[in-house]
């Protein structure tokens, strides 16, 4: 595949950024989106140019680090899929792809596509859990839970705190995260069905982690 990229480059927070054009040959449909960026960086390093900074960690859709705006959507075109779980077969040969950082005042740009999400981390820390004595855990098999309830409980735990809801909100607000998530549903999970059109929630499940 041949891919045209327009990537936001910004050396540091205080410097003016801009979109720069790159073109990549020999991208394979099996590559993940981040592997495609790795390929670009390897070529930039070889040419002694500054590689593109972007956040990533587990690349398994669990850690919530790899947030990018891809063609104007947080995590790209697929619903319930983080950037790292997006593969190049989603795009067509010759496509132009716009890659930008998550845009929100609360997520200041550190460099290129890297943003500082520590404000979001503080919300998660504050609301992560409460301490309440609930006695000894009962034998699990003695308390049958209806299947639909179990599924809903799983959905409620599916938020990985990636911040895509903030990046998607027109007001860059974390209100969706704090309200919906703490009532039991990750905001982007709710938003998946709304006309805001994002479904950045990474409810993959099924990993051995």
């Amino acid at each position: 595949m041949r891919i045209q990229l327009r990537i936001w480059r910004q050396e540091r927070q205080t410097k003016q950024g801009r979109l720069l054009d790159y073109s990549l040959q020999n991208v394979t449909p099996d590559m993940s989106f981040l592997e495609m960026l790795d390929m670009l960086n390897e070529q930039l390093i070889q040419k002694k140019e500054r590689p593109v900074e972007f956040d990533h960690d587990c690349r398994e859709g669990i850690c919530g680090q790899c947030g990018l705006m891809i063609n104007g959507r947080a995590h790209g075109p697929l619903p319930n899929t983080t950037t790292c779980q997006l593969h190049m077969r989603t795009f067509a040969d010759g496509d132009t792809i716009y890659i930008e950082p998550f845009r929100a005042t609360a997520f200041p740009i550190k460099c290129d596509l890297k943003v500082d999400r520590s404000a979001f981390d503080r919300i998660i820390q504050a609301g992560g859990y409460i301490s309440a004595s609930t006695g000894e855990a009962p034998e699990a098999n003695s308390i049958p839970i209806r299947h639909d309830v179990a599924e809903a409980a799983f959905d409620a735990a599916a938020c990985i705190g990636c911040g895509a809801c903030v990046a998607t909100c027109k007001n860059s607000s974390a209100a969706l995260f704090t309200s919906d998530f703490r009532q039991g549903y990750p905001a982007c999970f709710v938003a998946a069905g709304s006309d805001r059109g994002t479904a950045a929630c990474a409810a993959n499940g099924g990993s051995d982690r």
């Binding site: 449909p29 099996d30 930039l44 070889q46 140019e49 697929l78 899929t81 593969h87 992560g128 051995d208």
Partner: protein, 286 residues
């Protein structure tokens, strides 16, 4: 090795809905990664090395052998047996982070309550900062032609092939020799663009430098363990039909390796496993 997992009979017997309810998330993951719909085409699967066991030595309160330095989550060895699957890493992250560290670290700090603010101009700070800067500058100064990723991948290949799903004495010895060669190459041909500011490539190079040390240590450790146990399958120790043969008589211990300085062989400490209520037995999947 390739296995074919054909679910067509299960789907025709139980219906697609049933299968979707049980395995829908796995099928979706599979489709994302491969682009293949496993409801209509057989799944192509393969055994793969996935996790490694072990980590930094810690005491019962998760403190390393450096007083006041704790290692929590997957970085320590505490909850690892010879095998670990199924949310073990999340368990460790959550249990260590939520329930152990907040109680054990104050226990340490309690003894420090009369210690005043530590002066950052203390000679230990200056020495540590100097050493860190020197290491970064060393990586930047190499100015070779190979990005850190290439070394990372080459090391991964060696470990996957020789210290992965199955291991042998000859393979592990080859791996140790290859890693030493790769490390020499790393320190003569590494290419890191940019300077010591925010620089992912420099950060990656630092990590790969560490991986080159720990990768060799993993081979070293695997070499000393003359048995097959859990995820550690030594080809020399198997039955005629390929089942693992463990040796609980001689290997009921955890190996802790002490860093003895650059270029020195690490020091081997054996921590015996005390098993009170169960008797280790052969686990057979047949």
């Amino acid at each position: 090795m390739l296995c074919i997992l054909d679910l067509s009979r299960a789907i025709s017997e139980q219906g697609k809905g049933q299968i979707e309810e049980k395995y829908g998330n796995l099928f979706r993951m599979y489709q994302k990664i491969t682009g293949i719909n496993a409801y209509t085409e057989p799944m192509r699967i393969s055994p793969a090395a996935h996790f490694s066991m072990g980590g930094l030595w810690v005491d019962y309160e998760l403190m390393t052998n450096i007083s006041g330095l704790y290692a929590v989550g997957e970085a320590n060895f505490a909850d690892h047996g010879a095998n670990r699957l199924g949310a073990n890493s999340l368990l460790q992250a959550c249990v260590d982070g939520y329930f152990i560290a907040p109680y054990r670290i104050p226990n340490y700090l309690a003894d420090e309550i009369k210690t005043g603010p530590v002066d950052v101009n203390h000679s230990a700070f200056t020495a540590a900062e100097k050493a860190a800067r020197q290491q970064l500058q060393r990586l930047l100064n190499i100015q070779g032609t190979m990005p850190a990723d290439q070394f990372h991948k080459a090391l991964g290949r060696i470990l996957y092939d020789k210290c992965g799903l199955s291991r042998s004495r000859a393979g592990l010895e080859e791996a140790i020799a290859s890693i030493r060669t790769l490390r020499d190459q790393f320190y003569s041909e590494l290419s890191v663009p940019g300077g010591p500011d925010m620089n992912s490539e420099l950060e990656k190079a630092g990590r790969v430098a560490d991986y080159l040390e720990v990768g060799e240590l993993m081979c070293y450790d695997a070499l000393t363990r003359e048995e097959s146990c859990g995820a550690h399958f030594r080809e020399e120790h198997q039955t005629s039909d390929g089942e693992a043969v463990c040796n609980d008589q001689d290997f009921a211990f955890t190996s802790a390796w002490e860093w003895a300085g650059a270029g020195q062989d690490p020091i081997w400490h054996k921590e015996p496993l005390r098993i009170d209520y169960v008797t280790p037995t052969v686990r057979s999947y047949k």
